[in-house]
């Protein structure tokens, strides 16, 4: 997976790998402990807990006395394999539901189309799996962060 953040001197690209429940980047490893905490294991042997929270578009991270505010650049379209895609990226309206409960889908398949901020957004499957629930129908208003569908790998 790839994420972009705003740096002092332009964009920073983070190419993220996943192994089991570990996330890897540049030789460093992270593991989610709960919705606010990740265990971090740096390549130089430094380990510890990082605290994290997202406010608007920015991820705030605290690790061993250092605080970071990393503004994330949303990809132009949402088919970048973003697993957060099953939640509404912003408040909007459901334009179309392309699947129903029980459907078998493949990674990258479009599941739902949202309209928000005058733009259309495709919600795509991050992995292969089965749709276990669809929470909204065409015409429904959704809030930012609302769970839209459920996908079981």
């Amino acid at each position: 997976m790839q994420h972009q953040f705003k740096g002092h001197d332009g964009l920073i690209e983070v190419l993220l790998e996943k192994q089991g429940d570990h996330w890897l980047f540049n030789g460093h490893t992270a593991r989610v402990k709960d919705s606010r905490t990740l265990s971090l294991d740096l390549s130089d042997g430094t380990t510890g807990q990082a605290t994290v929270v997202k406010v608007k578009d920015a991820w705030w991270v605290h690790f061993q006395g250092h605080t970071f505010c990393l503004e994330r650049i949303e990809p132009g379209t949402s088919d970048g394999g973003d697993e957060g895609g099953l939640t509404a990226p912003m408040p909007g309206k459901v334009l179309e539901v392309l699947v129903q409960t029980g459907d078998v889908v493949v990674a990258g398949q479009a599941l739902m189309i949202l309209e928000a901020m005058k733009m259309e957004h495709r919600i795509v499957a991050a992995t292969d799996g089965t749709i276990s629930a669809v929470h909204f129908a065409a015409g429904d208003q959704v809030q930012q962060g609302s769970a839209l569908l459920e996908l079981v790998e």
Binding site: M1, S35, A50, T51, V53, H66, L70, G145
Partner: protein, 503 residues
Amino acid sequence: MVSKVLVANRGEIACRILRACSEAGLESVAIYASNDADSMFVELATEAIMLEGDSISETYLNQQQILEIASSSGCDAIHPGFGFLSERADFARAVGDSGIQWVGPSPEAIEKMGDKMTARITMRHAGVPVIPGEEIEQEDEGEALRAIEQASSRVGYPLLLKASSGGGGKGMRAVQRPDELLDAAKSARREAVAAFGDGRVYLERLLTGSKHVEIQILADRTGRTIHLGERECSVQRRHQKVFEEAPCATMTEEIRSAMGQAAVAAAQAVNYEGAGTVEFLLAPSGEFFFLEMNTRIQVEHPVTELVTGVDIVREQLRIAAGQPMSCGELHLRGHAIEVRLYAEDASNNFLPAIGPLAVFRPPEGPGIRLDTGVRQGDEVTPNYDPMLAKLIVWAPSREEALQRMRRSLDDFVVLGTTTNLRFLRELCDVPDVITGDTDTTMIDRLWPNGWSPAVPPNFTDGALLVAAAAESAGLNMSLSVSNQMVGDSGPVSPFLTLNRRYP
């Protein structure tokens, strides 16, 4: 008799005073502006009454309205805290005239110490050393400028021009050479007229490399006036203290005793009552000079409380009730350090910051005290002072206190709003701070081009990994919540999002 106290303040100092009232068995009244309705201090009072109006002058500075609330709610005392109306002699007088006890000194004492030129003259008469300099009594611009010019040659260069009604650096100019004098004097007077409606200035010799050392005073109506030792507050940014400690690392028993006596003399010269602070400049030579007296409780009072064991706010309440102070002979014990946590961008000239306190998790453990008026979920707004909290540590020795402060700052997590936490943490590693050789120009000297954090490159990588992994793992479910909870009181209540689904 004091039985019900109106606290004419907000934020952390209101919390401090309201808890002291509660422990003393006194009823209390909090007053709050509508934008403070969900603030912590409102919950700590026996009663909370909302102030009408929007601006500070309509609310926390509104003498008439506050007096009416005090009367109608049956308060027999008003504690002003610091800032706001705490040093307004006219308010102290109006409170007294209403038959309500002012928790602080007499209006006359506030007036004498509030006008800096009068204070200098009063102190000189009381035998308290003042910074060599001259008061300029002339009000007419032309006469004043001529008098300043004549005085400057007697005072010597470099010198400092200061507005008599000044404060917070306003109306103050450092003058290095005679040819800069006239322009500096004119602009200082202009600024002083604009800010305080009073253009009077005085001249002082500019003492470089000095420490800001202040003495805490307590005086009660039985005639007892004591000092509680010193605090050192030399570490300042933009004329505001950020790092305060007790005792002063380089203090000797002789200087403490002489400075303490001078402070007691200063208080007695104005028949002082209650808690107050006499500020001095301490020169490398060991000479010290009266700077000013703050006729109220001070932000940094906790460091004195921790090394003396005196609860200064409880003593204020006792003294206001006409009782003798309860503390006996004092012994300083160990070392206390306070840092002020500000919502500000230390890497951008300490510019105030705003935002939600999406995470606010103070450090824990023995020897740590946190004085704050905020909690997780609160919003930092531009309405009030950006000080979020005072983190105070105590330990048996200065070295251990610095160790404890380092750990505490490392463990303090504040996310959602930019703070000076890292700046404070780096201060603890500055060699001058470690040795105690701090002076009032230290921050400018260390970071002449501004401060920026030293971040290990691996940590930046790690933070990027954490942010990316959190995004991929869908932890941004909290996103909508961080926005929703803003302005909400109580512990974080992420369910609002869900609740709000049901209109």
